[in-house]
């Protein structure tokens, strides 16, 4: 029998150094005893064998991480289990992937229990303020961890309460932080800890008030906050009385008749619906459009995206409908296609800020696929319903020229489905005589897969915009001096 004496219960470095030598010396797991500290267990350490050829050792990185957790467990067989895993890993390289293997399964269960204990410690430590003798704040807590986790969990408290001075007393040792340095101290007893804190009355008040008696689920509470922790939690004394009274409080709420509002309370009047026939300005139109229900697209869209630009703009550009970004922001032409449009306008020498931009349909139409909203073409009914707003916009802006971007806009403006190809480049007119030009929608340029085609089509689009500039020179950017 070999004896590997570790210096403390979670002595990973000690274990590692013994384990390395044993494994290199091919000492079988069953031949090692792993006592901790100077307790008398077994014989005094026989020297580790030098005999046998040295084996090259290697373990996956995941094993080190697992072992560092398992070693903190209070189970007496943990060192043995870890050595057996190390031993087996030399032959069974993929052992850690076999989650159902007895040793792997056991090690993972121990590691899980250690992680849980650490987590519960970060949750359930309760500091109490003490007088530090110099008029400053200092805090002391008493906690009873299940495993040897103090060193491993210390960083959490240091990083969270860096600027405080605190001590955590436990039966397994003490953590002391003076604001600069962490020290590990001797095991402590509950008697050393303070017995109260003025804030605990506040905390209990909060605990009692945040509880909803109509939703009593003590089992769920106990699963996450096991009874063994209760004796160190100042709020736990309320649990029994709160549970005992819950049914009565709930019944009381259910049985008591609904009350009438106090006299001084008067219900606010319902806001009157906008009268669409009386819209007299662009501002009124934009405001009324916000609650438009002329078709069903409002149901799923975020908001109405009304047109934008100077009310005296010489040219109105009409697109199809807002896209994802426009829908979220409530502004037209700000998404990817809008950016293409902005660039093309600049390339054509036009002043984007002087143009009024809007869409044939003012709500985003889409299909939800997983977590993405995929653009869907508006149908004729939706276009027709939304024509109402487009007419108002054109009526208030009174542009010298209207530009239809894409087939949907063209159809919305002219009322009939014509080929965009046929209409493009020709000088058309709206029924009221306003000149109309048609070109592609900028998103068409984004969809072209072929780079050459994209470049050619972009040039064509810019050429169309230049034509806008020659028809309405006031839209041109001032020439650089």
């Amino acid at each position: 029998m070999f004896v590997a004496r570790l210096s403390h219960p979670a002595d990973f470095e000690g274990w590692r150094s013994f384990a390395r030598r044993f494994a290199q010396g091919s000492v079988a797991p069953s031949a090692i005893d792993w006592p901790v500290g100077d307790s008398d267990s077994g014989l005094f350490g026989e020297d580790v064998v030098a005999g046998g050829e040295d084996r090259a050792l290697s373990v996956p990185r995941a094993f080190i991480a697992l072992a560092q957790e398992v070693i903190c467990h209070s189970d007496a067989t943990r060192f043995d289990l870890l050595y057996r895993l190390l031993w087996r890993l030399q032959e069974e390289r993929e052992l850690l992937q076999i989650a159902s293997d007895h040793d792997v399964h056991r090690a993972e269960a121990l590691a899980r229990s250690v992680r849980r204990d650490m987590h519960k410690m970060t949750a359930f430590v309760r500091f109490r303020e003490v007088d530090d003798g110099q008029g400053g704040e200092a805090f002391v807590a008493w906690f009873e961890p299940e495993h040897h986790i103090l060193e491993k969990v210390a960083a959490f408290f240091v990083e969270r309460f860096t600027t405080m001075r605190w001590t955590i007393l436990t039966p397994r040792g003490t953590l002391l932080w003076d604001g600069r340095e962490l020290r590990l101290g001797e095991a402590a007893t509950r008697a050393q800890a303070p017995t109260s804190d003025a804030m605990e009355e506040w905390w209990r008040t909060y605990y009692a008030s945040i509880f909803n008696p109509a939703r009593l689920k003590p089992k769920a509470m106990k699963a996450e906050m096991p009874v063994k922790y209760w004796r160190n939690l100042p709020e736990a004394e309320l649990i029994s009385p709160l549970i005992a009274d819950a049914a009565r409080r709930t019944q009381e709420m259910i049985m008591s008749a609904p009350t009438s509002p106090q006299k001084r309370w008067a219900a606010a009047p319902e806001p009157a619906a906008a009268d669409l026939s009386a819209i007299e300005s662009w501002e009124e139109a934009a405001s009324a459009a916000r609650s438009c229900r002329r078709c069903d697209l409002w149901c799923d869209a975020t908001q109405t995206v009304f047109g934008e630009g100077p009310r005296s703009a010489p040219v109105v550009f009409v697109g199809e409908q807002p896209g994802d970004q426009e829908d979220l922001a409530g502004k037209p032409f700000i998404g990817p296609a809008g950016k293409v449009f902005d660039r093309a306008m600049a390339d054509a020498g036009l002043d984007r800020t002087q143009a009024y931009v809007t869409n044939a349909v003012k709500h985003f139409k889409f299909q939800l696929r997983g977590k993405r909203r995929i653009h869907e073409k508006p149908n004729a009914g939706e276009v027709k319903a939304c024509r109402f707003w487009l007419d108002l916009e054109l009526g208030f802006v009174k542009p010298q020229l209207v530009v239809a971007l894409g087939a949907t806009a063209l159809k919305a403006l002219t009322g009939h489905a014509g080929s965009l190809t046929a209409a493009r480049g020709r000088e058309l007119a709206l029924p009221d005589g306003t000149p109309l030009l048609a070109t592609v929608h900028p998103s068409y340029l984004l969809r072209l897969p072929d780079e050459d085609a994209k470049e050619a089509e972009t040039r064509r689009f810019i050429a169309d915009l230049k034509q806008v500039g020659s028809l309405v020179p006031t839209l041109r950017l001032p020439k650089a001096a």
């Binding site: 993929e94 970060t122 309760r126 860096t162 649990i239 106090q262």
Partner: protein
């Protein structure tokens, strides 16, 4: 009226806040107080510092700044027509409470909401002042969740998201009609556009931080919302469709479902009964299936009568029982997508099965070690040494697998 003490205010204003289900403190940027002037840190999965006997986690100091409210949402204890006692914290009181609780390790941070006083902008401004004081005056690095006030200006919302780890705005009810009926002053349009604006801002900040680590973080734990279940007649189908829409359109981290719970001073318009807790539980399970298990809402409810989830069995088992033809599934061969559909297998177990079967063929005993229970699972799988017996028809299998009614009541 006598002056309330801060302790009395705490009692009133935490009681008033308890109907908001969210208490999460997870998913934000990793921070600590090393090198700072104050205290506070965050962890990736959050910490629940206590649990109330309602089984809910207590992670944050969840309070209202005030329960005075000019709105009259009938489901709300704080509605203007309620006779509940009113109180209002000062900014300093909330800041001091948060820090005092935090120093004693009671909480992860603050979840601050408010009744609407004077105007949405005024109220939002007050909430922002609290967060600002904590962050700037006290260098507080713990978690802050701010409730956004519907119809507050975008500027204030942006500012809130600059100080907060998470912001949320409650849609309250699954349909616009119900919202109109029960919360007449809340503007669904404003709620939607606030969510939309936030999503853009959050996306923008994520993109900017990819370019520069110094760019400001904007609500790093995203946004969430809450829907009240059982106050109106909306079906589970309506609720889940609405959630799917919210996840898709606004990238919400979470939609919380809150079973409508009787309140002390109740309105005549609402059901006076026990909260539908099992229904709420089933909705969470269904929500989970859509987010982590590849289910579409339509599938979960494909044959559900009246668009309602089965209360007797969980929605995954219910789906499997309706699609007996797809089972049993061979755990040694099926792809991940299919494994995730097996009742009794969670994402973690599926990952372990996939890792393990590269090296050996799984027996029933192996699977048994990876999961909590084989009772239901074994009816739906094939392993190297196991195949379920002659297929039972759906109804009899359901009777066999459904938990006993007493157990149900305990949940």
């Amino acid at each position: 009226m006598t002056q309330l003490t801060t302790l009395q205010k705490l009692e009133i204003l935490s009681d008033a806040a308890k109907y908001d289900a969210s208490c999460a403190s997870s998913g934000t940027t990793k921070r600590d107080s090393v090198g700072g002037k104050g205290i506070g840190s965050t962890t990736s999965s959050g910490i629940c510092h206590s649990y109330a006997p309602d089984g809910r986690c207590i992670s944050l100091l969840k309070v209202l700044l005030t329960n005075f409210c000019s709105y009259d949402c009938v489901f709300c204890i704080n509605r203007s027509s309620s006779n509940v006692q009113r109180a209002r914290f000062s900014v300093e009181e909330v800041v001091a409470l948060t820090l005092n609780f935090y120093k004693r390790n009671y909480i992860e941070g603050l979840f601050l909401s408010s009744g609407i006083i004077r105007s949405p902008d005024y109220t939002m401004g007050e909430l922002v002042r609290v967060a600002e004081a904590l962050r700037l005056d006290h260098d507080f690095r713990g978690y802050i969740h701010l409730k956004l006030i519907p119809s507050a200006s975008q500027d204030l919302i942006d500012r809130a998201a600059l100080f907060a780890d998470r912001v949320s705005i409650n849609v309250e009810l699954p349909s616009e009609t119900s919202l109109k009926r029960f919360a007449p002053e809340k503007q669904p349009l404003d709620i939607r556009s606030a969510m939309g604006g936030l999503k853009l801002k959050i996306d923008e900040s994520v993109a900017e931080r990819e370019r520069s680590k110094r760019a400001p973080v904007f609500s790093p734990a995203g946004q969430s919302t809450q829907m009240i279940v059982g106050a109106d007649e909306a079906s589970d189908a309506t609720i889940l469709q609405h959630s799917a829409h919210l996840y898709g359109a606004y990238g919400l981290r979470r939609v919380y479902y809150s079973a409508f719970s009787p309140i002390p001073d109740s309105s005549k318009q609402l059901p006076l009964s026990e909260p539908p807790l099992m229904r709420e539980h089933r909705l969470y399970q269904a929500d989970w299936l859509t987010r982590f298990y590849g289910f579409e809402v339509d599938e979960i409810l494909d044959a559900a009568p009246g668009g309602m989830l089965d209360l007797a069995v969980d929605p995954k088992l219910a789906w499997a029982l309706r699609h007996r033809g797809r089972f049993p599934v061979d755990v040694n061969r099926a792809d991940r997508e299919l494994l995730l559909r097996i009742p009794g297998l969670g994402t973690r177990s599926v990952d372990r099965i996939l890792a393990m079967r590269r090296f050996r063929s799984l027996r029933l005993e192996d699977v048994g070690r990876l999961v909590r229970s084989l009772r239901v699972l074994r009816q739906f799988i094939v392993t190297a040494d196991w195949r379920p017996g002659a297929a039972l028809d759906g109804e009899r299998l359901k009777a066999l697998l459904a938990p006993k009614p007493q157990q149900l009541a305990l949940l």
